[in-house]
Symmetry: C2
Subunit: 316 residues, 2 copies
């Protein structure tokens, strides 16, 4: 039997747990609640307990396990030190050191968006590529940059935070980060609803959107059905995201850009509208970058966390 | 005697040649003309001849030389393949393979802006740091990104091309790259002169700039003397460059940003005005990035080319 790897993805409400072969086959997955009370003091012990239970039920000892990968919803530097996870109540500490108080196994920690990117490049939409930008369009906009197959964590774990690059000088609503005019304000699911609301308020033409509860999915569905205003909103989204990704590509010159998150479920229309605008703005040296949709969905984080272990053990 | 390293920086009119100890001490430097006729077919043979001459005069054989580092004014990928150097007349080929037709030594090639960045991080303004953005403000705006001490070349050698990230949606003059509103159009020496020309044409207030031949140096000199319009031009420059660097930092989260090139000779005023705007736009995770001036001047390229050899040999 090959050794086993645990890939753990900590979210604000649930912790996703993945049990992998060391070749990266997902053998089992489950979730446990994220207990954020007491500044999240129970989270790592709960994870350790769940891993211990799985090991017992499979009849495994520490010798059968390569290690545990853990992705966290906040900046994590290359030494595995987390720099505040507001959603978990966590301050600054070394995740591996804390985790090993509960279970004696090698631990490798990373940021959740970066781990998801690594997962997509390992086993998903970016499989087989070395230099990839992954952008995740969910409630917010997350990003992960993979250079020569490795996550670009940055000096303090804030590498790939492309949701907060500045896009618009004329924005008067504040972004969640405190700035004005961030990519996330237009390209996230929430941002698309915001664009739609503004459009409907400022434009008197008819649209089926006026009879619906505004969601990003509704905007894309109606755009595919030919609704004129919905298509203009999609264009606006594509212009902003294409421009933002062009600037990211000017910095890292990726061979591939992978688009994931809930918004990407709209499919090819997202790639088409983003790529059209991307080539308009990007430096010619990156005009050939390809685009693909993410394929791992909510499992990207556990895959990427498992890969952190496999890469980390190889390096050590 | 320690072994020797050659660091070569190919420019459009001259080739800068550096002769280093393997510890990185610059022992001698000189220049030879860049012969661009015949699609630049003589450039590499000329370099090989000049190296051979130096070896002979120092009584050195191939065994005494670690290798030759060569930086080129165009994209060079991680395999040492140059993807067109318009200024030299070069197409696509492997620089090492070509060079070894003339001299049998290990060759490591890179892009000139990236090599200059590596030089600054090795022996200049970024010395001792691992994650650094270097921006060079000359006739154009060049950039180099150092991640964990290594150049980020990108998938086709266009990593760090930050002079062409999109900054302004309302620009009607075309950038040299063919796009509109690139960082280079405002933050290069040429860009600052353009900003100054526009300012003087649209504003009737008095300024000593009106009696001068407009240069970036004149703008900064008069700004330091308290000239109101010159200071407003410097502010505009700082706003654009601060915003651009904030977006770069959102992607790579550097610990340090080094500003070099002719414009940086204006000194601390450049850092002050750029940093003030940088912190206004940057994602909070990168707000703590430090700023420094480049210190190697025109030697940054030969230093970086020498470092390509030292790192390359270590990896091989």
């Amino acid at each position: 039997m090959s050794k086993r790897v645990f890939g753990v993805d900590i979210g604000g409400t649930t912790v996703k747990m993945g049990f992998f072969s060391s070749e990266g086959d997902l053998l089992d997955k489950w979730e446990i609640p994220t207990r954020t009370e007491n500044n999240g003091a129970n989270i790592l012990p709960d994870i350790a307990g769940s891993i211990r239970k799985k090991m017992d039920s499979e009849g495994l000892t520490e010798n059968d396990i390569v290690g545990i990968g853990i992705s966290c919803p906040g900046p994590v530097d290359d030494k595995g030190v987390v720099h505040k996870c507001v959603n978990l109540g966590w301050g600054n500490f070394n995740v591996g050191d804390e985790m090993r108080k509960n279970i004696d196994l090698p631990v490798f920690a990373g940021n959740d968006a970066n781990a998801a990117a690594l997962g997509e490049v390992w086993k998903g939409g970016g499989s087989g590529r070395e230099n990839v930008v992954v952008v995740t369009l969910g409630t917010g906009v997350g990003g992960g940059i993979i250079i020569n197959g490795k996550v670009l964590s940055g000096s303090q774990g804030s590498g790939g935070e492309i949701g907060h690059i500045h896009i618009n000088d004329n924005e008067d609503e504040k972004c969640g980060c405190g700035n004005y005019g961030c990519l996330e304000q237009y390209a996230s699911a929430t941002g698309i609803v915001r664009l739609a609301g503004r459009k409907l308020a400022s434009d008197s033409r008819p649209s089926a959107l006026r009879d619906k509860t505004l969601t990003a999915k509704e905007v894309f569905d109606l755009a595919k059905d030919g609704d004129v205003l919905a298509n203009e909103i999609v264009e606006e989204f594509g212009e902003v995201l294409g421009k933002g990704l062009a600037n990211v590509a000017g910095v890292v010159n990726p061979e591939l850009i992978v688009i994931g998150g809930g918004v990407s479920k709209a499919g090819q229309i997202v790639i088409d509208v983003v790529k059209k605008n991307y080539v308009k703005y990007v430096f010619h040296g990156s005009r050939g970058s390809e685009f693909a949709l993410a394929t791992l969905g909510n499992d990207a984080g556990i895959y990427g966390s498992a890969k952190l272990v496999i890469d980390g053990v190889k390096r050590a």
